[in-house]
């Protein structure tokens, strides 16, 4: 059997199936956003669904909100993960347990995490009662559904930190010891070693972490629905609202879905570029 054919046959049930469905889904989203597959009327290639959304305040609010949550969450998660990774590079007593604990949240389902959090931060929940008890606060503070979305950002960071941690520790572990030693022998301090050796060699992992977390946080539904401010929508919750029973506007939902994908793509490009630039600048300084 010719090698090419053999490879195609091997890839068909796996990659082939995945790509077929994913391309189909993507095409459907784009097509519906431009008026095709209109379940409420005639299929008509049109920009009207986009124009309608562009005039809708909730659409822009949701876009802004999702962008804000995603940028802050991705940046924070990576900023917290970096020092941890470098610290835990060399095993010491307790470091194994520590990294296991850091990784644990990745496997707590998001819904459960959100539920646990709103329990703890509720008006007469543990945190409030505890802080009143030790005298930090005189009376409970409303933290549930806070309007700056701190709860969602906290949940995102908590949930996504393991991803950044895993990717970055893989990259840091791959830096050969002798390279670090060589830098040390040449008299480089901790900061110099970080920006001249560690940073350049972990740029890819950092880009990957930022991008994956950005995409995950931008597309968030559960945290927003359970712990987010009631006055805001994320793109995903707005999309589901539009597609759901009370609106049944699939084409509008498609516009929001495509927007979410564009946001994910743009965010990825911007983050990747920024990391690249910052790494270059740091090396020169």
């Amino acid at each position: 059997m010719p090698n090419g054919l053999r490879i195609i046959l091997l890839l068909t049930p796996g990659l082939g199936l995945v790509m077929t469905l994913m391309i189909w889904v993507l095409y459907r989203a784009f097509a519906q956003s431009f008026g095709l597959y209109n379940f409420n009327g005639d299929d008509l290639l049109t920009l009207s669904h986009w124009q309608g959304m562009f005039q809708n305040r909730r659409y822009w609010n949701a876009l802004e909100w999702s962008g804000y949550i995603a940028v802050v969450s991705a940046t924070l998660a990576v900023a917290v993960a970096y020092p941890l990774v470098i610290w835990l590079r060399r095993p010491f007593k307790g470091s194994f347990l520590l990294s296991a604990l850091i990784k644990a949240p990745y496997f707590v389902p998001g819904l459960v995490a959100a539920f646990l959090l709103i329990n703890v931060i509720s008006y007469h929940g543990f945190v409030n009662e505890f802080l009143i008890w030790i005298g930090v606060w005189d009376q409970p503070v409303r933290m549930q559904n806070d309007k700056n979305g701190y709860a969602i950002i906290g949940l995102q960071v908590w949930k996504q930190l393991p991803l950044a941690f895993l990717l970055l520790s893989g990259a840091v572990a791959a830096i050969p010891d002798n390279v670090l030693h060589a830098a040390q022998d040449l008299g480089a301090g901790t900061w110099d070693r970080f920006r001249k050796v560690v940073l350049p060699m972990t740029v890819t992992a950092m880009q990957a972490s930022l991008i994956l977390i950005f995409i995950g946080a931008a597309g968030d539904f559960t945290f927003q629905a359970v712990a987010g401010p009631t006055r805001e929508n994320s793109l995903a919750t707005l999309m589901v609202t539009y597609q759901g029973a009370s609106y049944s506007d699939w084409n509008g939902a498609a516009v929001i879905g495509v927007t979410l994908m564009v946001l994910s793509l743009l965010g990825s490009i911007v983050f990747a570029a920024l990391v690249q630039i910052v790494a270059k600048l740091m090396e020169r300084v």
């Binding site: 909730r58 509720s122 008006y123 929940g125 009631t230 006055r231 029973a245 009370s246 049944s248 699939w250």
Partner: protein, 367 residues
């Protein structure tokens, strides 16, 4: 949600093929209907709230008739209606008996979806209501659930004598007690009822008035913006109640049956009380009807009859705190005092809630 799509596609160009079996059923005597129901042996009831409780409630029906009732968990009434519409062209659908919120009748044609008219053949049909929340169900569906939105308060922290009754008193109360009133604007109608009636209060619209057109809502937006620190928006009916129970609020907008049911099940404290202020809160009800393509139409009809019987309605009043839907039932056990019933307002006219609530959400809450 998927059902919605199926429905939409099914609706395109398709007309429902009327199932003639209806007519046979409707011409039978009640005894024959009961006999056929027992033969059918089972019935599926789509009911979108209190499913676990209703599974217990219908055990009495199952024991009486030997008909097994299955109540699937339904995500929302709209989803259930969509499923029903999607299936209306099938020979037999999954749904036998279907619950609707009263006002959904405004956008549905009962005779397209339901077997009927059933009110005339129900043994207690004369004591039942088919005109609910401004919608005429044309005797194809009858009310089985009466509900009233109300303000619930914690008597430990607010005495019954100090309850704000008029709109002016209400305004003053929230200004004196900032952050102590909670209500939702989506996921349940209790908050929307309050929003709706606040708007009526601000614009001076009484229940008896008729309006030629919806007036300018700017004063309403201004009021909600000015008072933004005085009230707290919650995520749902249930969120309001749960936070009220944990002491975050002194007063919330809620449903009488919802809070009563939760009190009876021990989910929330039994000290809580409800009232309907003089400036009004909306009341309404839910109806049941038999699906046109029900697999077990007779059993569905018998279940509908049982649910709406005076006996069952009295039990609902005691156990769930509903306002009764059968004129012969005893309604003395309710949470809302009888004298407050006069303050009941309705969804829709004057100043339709569908004009007010979405506009307030867009221009105030999610501006």
């Amino acid at each position: 949600m998927l059902r919605k799509l199926i429905m939409s596609t099914a609706l395109l160009g398709l007309t429902s093929s009327a199932v003639l079996a209806d007519d046979v059923l409707l011409s039978m005597s009640w005894e024959d209907i009961v006999a056929q129901a027992k033969e059918e042996g089972s019935v599926t009831w789509y009911q979108w709230y209190f499913e676990p409780e209703f599974r217990v409630v219908v055990e009495a029906f199952e024991a009486e008739y030997g008909i097994e009732v299955s109540i699937p968990d339904v995500s929302s009434v709209d989803d259930a209606i969509n499923k029903m519409m999607a299936e209306q062209d099938l020979e037999t659908g999954d749904i036998d008996l279907m619950s609707f919120n009263g006002s959904s009748g405004l956008r549905l044609t009962p005779s397209d979806l339901l077997t009927g008219p059933i009110q005339p053949i129900l043994p207690e049909g004369e004591s039942l209501e088919t005109f609910v929340e401004g919608a005429d169900w044309e005797e194809y569906a009858v009310q089985f659930w009466g509900n009233q939105t109300c303000l619930a308060y914690d008597p430990d922290r607010l005495s019954a004598d100090d309850l704000p009754d008029t709109f002016v008193e209400f305004e003053a109360w929230i200004a004196e007690n900032p952050g102590q009133l909670g209500f939702n604007f989506e996921n349940g109608g209790s908050g929307p009822s309050l929003i709706h009636n606040i708007a009526r209060g601000i614009l001076g619209v009484a229940q008896a008035d008729t309006l030629a057109e919806t007036p300018d809502l700017q004063p309403v937006y201004d009021w909600f913006i000015e008072n933004e620190d005085n009230y707290i928006l919650t995520a749902s009916n249930a969120d309001s109640l749960s936070r009220f129970n944990s002491g975050e609020f002194i007063m919330i907008a809620t449903w009488e049956d919802f809070i009563a049911g939760n009190i009876n099940r021990g989910e929330v404290s039994d000290r809580f009380e409800c009232y309907v202020p003089e400036f009004g809160l909306n009341g309404g009800g839910n109806v049941v009807g038999v699906a046109k393509n029900a697999a077990n139409p007779a059993a569905a009809l018998v279940l509908a009859s049982w649910l709406t019987s005076a006996e069952t309605q009295t039990m609902f009043n005691t156990d769930f705190g509903t306002s009764t839907a059968n004129g012969q039932a005893d309604s003395s056990a309710a949470l809302v005092p009888d004298e407050d019933r006069a303050n009941k307002t309705v969804w829709g006219d004057p100043l339709p809630d569908t004009d007010v609530v979405p506009a307030v959400i867009e221009n105030v809450f999610q501006r």
